[in-house]
Amino acid sequence: MNGPKTIPVRVAHVEPVTDDVRRFTLVPADGQHLPAYSAGSHVIVTMRGESRVWRNAYSLTTPSGVRDAYQIMVRRVSASRGGSAFMHSSVSEGTRLDISVPSNFFPLARRGGKHVMIAGGIGVTPFLSMLPELARVRARVEMHLCCRPEDADAFTDLIASRTAGGVAVYVEVAGAKERFGAMLADQPAGTHLYTCGPAGLMEGVAETARALGWPESHFHQESFGGASHGEPFVAVLAKSGREVAVTGDQSLLEALEAAGVDAPYMCRGGACGTCALEVLEGTPEHRDFFQSAAERATNCNVLPCVSRARGGRIVLNI
């Protein structure tokens, strides 16, 4: 089985950035180099608590050439399921963690003529690896940061050390269209727009940009991959009656494999169709690119390597 590879790391340093944001410096636990990565990358950190394991994605904030240490910043979210709280309460210098190999679903458009970045709060993190690279090639950059007034100084310092172009900071609440509409409408053709932050900000910027006719190819939102992750659900295997619980951070295929089911697969990426399973009951949430739109609409089959189920339950003909 092709499982995800992890890198064992040790926390070398923990420092406060703001009241609820901490920066963690991670070094390899076994003396090897960490892989180089491209600006905008993130890692999935596996955190083992007493009663459960969390896996959260965090952007890498150091310039991408550095291979002896990575840095991430974690905001303690009070309403979270606990991963960020765990990072703040139980992770300190010397703690060992496992991280994934870096993944990038938010790369720089290097050949872009101009780059406009809109960050909200902790969403500033992916831009911290992007700005130095853009500065090195003297690209045209506009950095916009929306944050709480008490966080403005700390975040602006992080940005200022990475770019010569300055940053526009907004600390009052305002709608995206009202705040950014005119600025976006004024941009030259060929400008790339990047956004990362709370859902409300990202949706507002997306709506505003699209209404202005911004081309999709030049509009980038951070989505921490997890192409096959989502709400947990139960898969019932009709032939045996067995029930397989699929957690939020594993694919349906991975859950079947973990339950000892010998499910066929090939590409594990939604493209080849080898893993397709017949659906007897329930509604798939299709994320593949193998089936046609018409085939997906029948909901007769599901590709478990990437797709999931709506409504908490699905019955498969296996």
């Binding site: 590879k5 870096p102 290097r110």
Partner: protein
């Protein structure tokens, strides 16, 4: 594991042959008795259906001779190795990946030591030792991508990922099955696949592109492609067509076994770390028909696949002229018995050499 390297020619006078071990580890591409294009991509993990999948970049007994053949081709035609200016980071990514992999998979033949950016690379089979500064092109005898691909088997292509698309923005291509880097340089994924028949209508390339755009670091993939070549010639490029094209008319019932070769491409795709580009490797394996049929299952299946190949594929793969002769010759190795699914040889020793 130490490899003994052959001394052989991939151009007239041809002296290429596979040892018994090379035949048994050949990446046979047909899992069924009929062949059609598909998105036959799988994770590039060590092991699997063929021993040729045992290393990240496979090195075999033909390594030294293939590198020599590449050097000859590049001397005649430098345009076979080109990289566009914006792909600098991808060049160094490639050098790092190939050096690290070869040193890890074949420690008895390759060694890499690093002191910060000061690297020392030793390639024993080719008798090379190079000290250089990673990132500083002035410390290498030629640009990094060309430097390292001259020391690896197979063709290497750099794909820039931008605008939700992939662009062929660099490569070293000297073992290709009739396509031209110089012609394709700068083209997008759909553009360079333009000539392939049937696959576009079947939606193969659309799915493959979406899949590849999501390719992640540390999770490479592979697939097999195939065609046929008369004589064990690596340089079957459009540029040198006058040299090898006429060979297609030279197949007779007497020489099929020795002259006609199955040419399999092990295509591997790797996300590159700093550039976020994709490295596309096309590793070419040749096997003469009289070597191939020493594995009974492969002899039977080759007869059936070739006999049932759609006309568009026969035409596109350039095998029209000799296909009937080849099918006729192969029929003596097909007793009609069922063949098992999958590509595995099902043999641990070979049948006697056919005269």
């Amino acid at each position: 594991m130490t490899i003994v390297f052959n001394e052989e020619n991939f151009r007239a006078p041809y002296t290429f042959r596979n040892s018994d071990q090379a035949i048994l580890r050949f990446p046979f591409p047909f899992p069924e008795d009929r062949y059609m294009y598909s998105v036959n991509i799988e994770p590039h993990v060590k092991g699997g259906a063929s021993a040729a999948f045992g290393a990240t970049f496979d090195i075999d007994e033909h390594y030294v001779s293939e590198c020599r053949d590449r050097a000859l081709t590049l001397e005649r035609d430098p345009l076979r190795s080109q990289v566009l200016d914006h792909m600098d980071a991808a060049q160094w990514d490639t050098l790092e990946m190939i050096m690290e992999s070869l040193a890890a998979d074949y420690p008895e033949h390759f060694k890499l030591t690093r002191d910060g950016d000061h690297w020392t690379w030793i390639n024993q089979p080719l008798g090379l030792e190079q000290q250089f500064v990673f990132g500083d092109v002035a410390t290498l005898p030629c640009p990094p991508f060309e430097y390292i691909t001259r020391q690896a088997q197979g063709d290497y292509v750099l794909l820039d990922h931008r605008d939700d698309n992939l662009f062929m923005d660099g490569g070293t291509v000297t073992t290709q099955a009739d396509w031209s880097l110089d012609f394709d340089l700068g083209m997008s994924f759909m553009e360079w696949h333009g000539p392939v028949p049937l696959a576009h209508q079947a939606g193969i390339f659309e799915r493959a592109l979406k899949f590849l755009l999501r390719l992640q670091l540390g999770a490479p993939v592979r697939r097999l492609n195939w065609t046929m070549t008369v004589n064990p010639r690596l340089d079957t490029s459009p540029e040198t067509y006058p040299e090898w094209g006429p060979d297609r008319a030279s197949i007779t019932p007497e020489n099929v076994g020795r002259k006609l070769h199955l040419r399999v491409e092990l295509q591997t795709l790797f996300r590159l770390p700093r550039s976020n580009a994709i490295l596309f490797c096309v590793r070419c394996y040749l096997i003469a028909f009289d070597e191939l049929v020493r594995v009974p299952k492969w002899g039977r299946r080759m007869h059936r696949v070739l006999g049932s190949l759609p006309p568009e594929l026969v035409e596109y793969k350039g095998i029209t002229r000799y296909r009937q002769t080849a099918v006729q010759w192969l029929s003596q190795f097909d007793d009609g018995l069922p063949t098992s699914a999958g590509t595995h040889s099902e043999a641990d020793r070979l049948e006697e050499q056919v005269t």
